[in-house]
Symmetry: C2
Amino acid sequence: MTTNRYSITEAAALIASGKVTAVRLAEDCLARVAVREEAVHAWAYIDPQQVLADARARDAESPRSPLHGIPVAIKDIIDTDDMPTEYGSPIYAGYRPRADAACVALLRNAGAVIMGKTVTAEFAMSHPGKTCNPLDTAHTPGGSSSGSAAAVADHMAPLALGTQTGGSVLRPAAFCGIVGFKPTFDAINPVGVKPNTKSYDTVGLMGRSVGDVALAFAVMTRSDAAAFALPPIDKPRIGFYRTLSWAKADAATQAALEDAASRLAAAGARVTEVTLPAKFSEFADARNKVGHYETSRALAWERRNFEEQIAVREKLRRADAVTFEQYMAAQKVLDECRRLVDVTFADFDVLLVPSAPGEAPRGLTTTGDATFNQTWTALHTPAVTVPVFKGPAGLPMGAQFVGPRGSDYLTLACAEWGFRALA
Amino acid sequence: MTTNRYSITEAAALIASGKVTAVRLAEDCLARVAVREEAVHAWAYIDPQQVLADARARDAESPRSPLHGIPVAIKDIIDTDDMPTEYGSPIYAGYRPRADAACVALLRNAGAVIMGKTVTAEFAMSHPGKTCNPLDTAHTPGGSSSGSAAAVADHMAPLALGTQTGGSVLRPAAFCGIVGFKPTFDAINPVGVKPNTKSYDTVGLMGRSVGDVALAFAVMTRSDAAAFALPPIDKPRIGFYRTLSWAKADAATQAALEDAASRLAAAGARVTEVTLPAKFSEFADARNKVGHYETSRALAWERRNFEEQIAVREKLRRADAVTFEQYMAAQKVLDECRRLVDVTFADFDVLLVPSAPGEAPRGLTTTGDATFNQTWTALHTPAVTVPVFKGPAGLPMGAQFVGPRGSDYLTLACAEWGFRALA
């Protein structure tokens, strides 16, 4: 097995013991890119010499963390001081930020090798980039973290950073058959990530196992990451929540989730069906209003100077209709729903919900529907998708586990428990 | 009277009617800068030719808003695409951002003339810049929006943008004898403002009257700003709140506030003494923990590459001690306190609190104490300081009016009512 297929835990142990070099790992990842990029189009920018130079420098040091020497793909909505950052927009062609995003600087502090920039939908919104689903290139990889999901799924990199404002980490992870993790809001500092909707934008992680993603999250959020292990789980309390969007899930997804609820119970979980309080009937509208108010202003400079180069310009113009009073009222609804979901979580460790309405749609004109993700993004709750189902076209589908705000490690542990029970 | 002393309402009417040109207004402001800048040091960057060219272009157009042709000073923590932006740090010497901050683009859309960049404390934190208090240059102007407050107070510009993470708009406004307004969190989009503490950073406005500040806020937040007027106020319900920091207020401030409470009641307000719920005993510690966790990471790139150039580097190192679990627990305390203060506000239109512990301290080694401001910044509530008191050294002191989240216009109207009653 070439080293690009190793888990981070495996690779880190081999690097720490000197059995594998960071250069070797980088070479194997780059070799995979060389073979596959023409079909997958995961990368907005990658320079093999730059990657190898970084890996050589890491090999010359003692390991700084369990991510030492691990190549990480960075969604091109995230600033890097030594690589172009184009936000999926021609407005920023060739743009080189002055500074790394905080999350990139934290990865460099940990000894990670920044491998390159992955394709993002325009400004992390809905207009797709060039990336194909590596499992079937006639299908979308999902978005907006399209290239990050494809690169990890295709063994070009073991780990990637993505961002999620609606469903931009979980959905592409589910479509590409990998693990996607959207932490609690602001758990990973978003400074240097091009803002879209400030109240929702969340930096997330994509990997090929829950353990890999959890380890990377630990390195980015705690000083004791070297000794890190997920908390043990026994008989997790799982709320099976079909959501207000259940009718948008296709038959295969509905059947898979119903079956999963039974199998999780059979494996020892305490599974209960759950609904959210009546206030949540106001949630979708409030979520949209906050999103529209913030996004339309976040891109004020681009709209003022380069509106004709913005693919979603009409959507932004319509978003201008939300008034200050509507925005403030909508923020109150979201606050109240965040409080109410905390109350619901008193009875559950995690909720089980679909990761997406179905398999990755065919074609590259859409990145798919975020309906099963955007609630949790706006509620600021951690969410993990694990690849445990196959759809009718043979493409992967995910199960999504959602936990209460701040319970990121417990949520990851429950997702790992669920993965083992369902896979 | 030279036009640089006009209120925005006066200047806008004269510009709209063609009686005064934007160039004339800019020239008068620039003339004041030429006379006073050597003593005040308000500006990090100002180019008179650039300002005049902008004003000429505005004179060639029909007025786009009530801010058309009005010069606005921009705190140098806020990005501009045509002027350097140095964040008060040598790390960013000569840095020219690719894009305007959203708030600057919105001002340009409204026809405002961007006059230049004003001195900020390093990264909008505590290390002072070079600005002096224009009312007595031996005293601090306050910070971190030091240059913005000084420029407006000294009639160099009628309006300025500042930012507040602790007390960085209200405190310098109070010290310089002007009106400072920190809106509800995120009311003015913060994209393109160098982040410090994402959960607190708020774009604010500084002017010489409540009406001026309210008009500018209306232009930045609503499409009907041309017909804008503050809501009428009759017998406002005012909660007199001495705060948990009352002992930090000097005798003159305590006496002024006690007297103000009586005079507001005499003028017709329903004034009641108020305290906040017991949960607020946990607030200060939670506020600090969230601030430390976010700030220490927000500057990860600068700390990684240029730590020796950061004046507050030791403070940032100490901030690293806050753990992920402490951060998440502290965010919960803040959420709960935000909810509780909303309950308190059911009985009040605004709270009356000190704007600062006293007059501007002598000397330029500190920007003063934010203790009376930082609670409201972290609670996300709108706050206005109006210059209604004089301290023992003859320098101005402010009264601060704080309203519930989203009630920005009512809070401004109450502050104007209070100003008229007390001034």
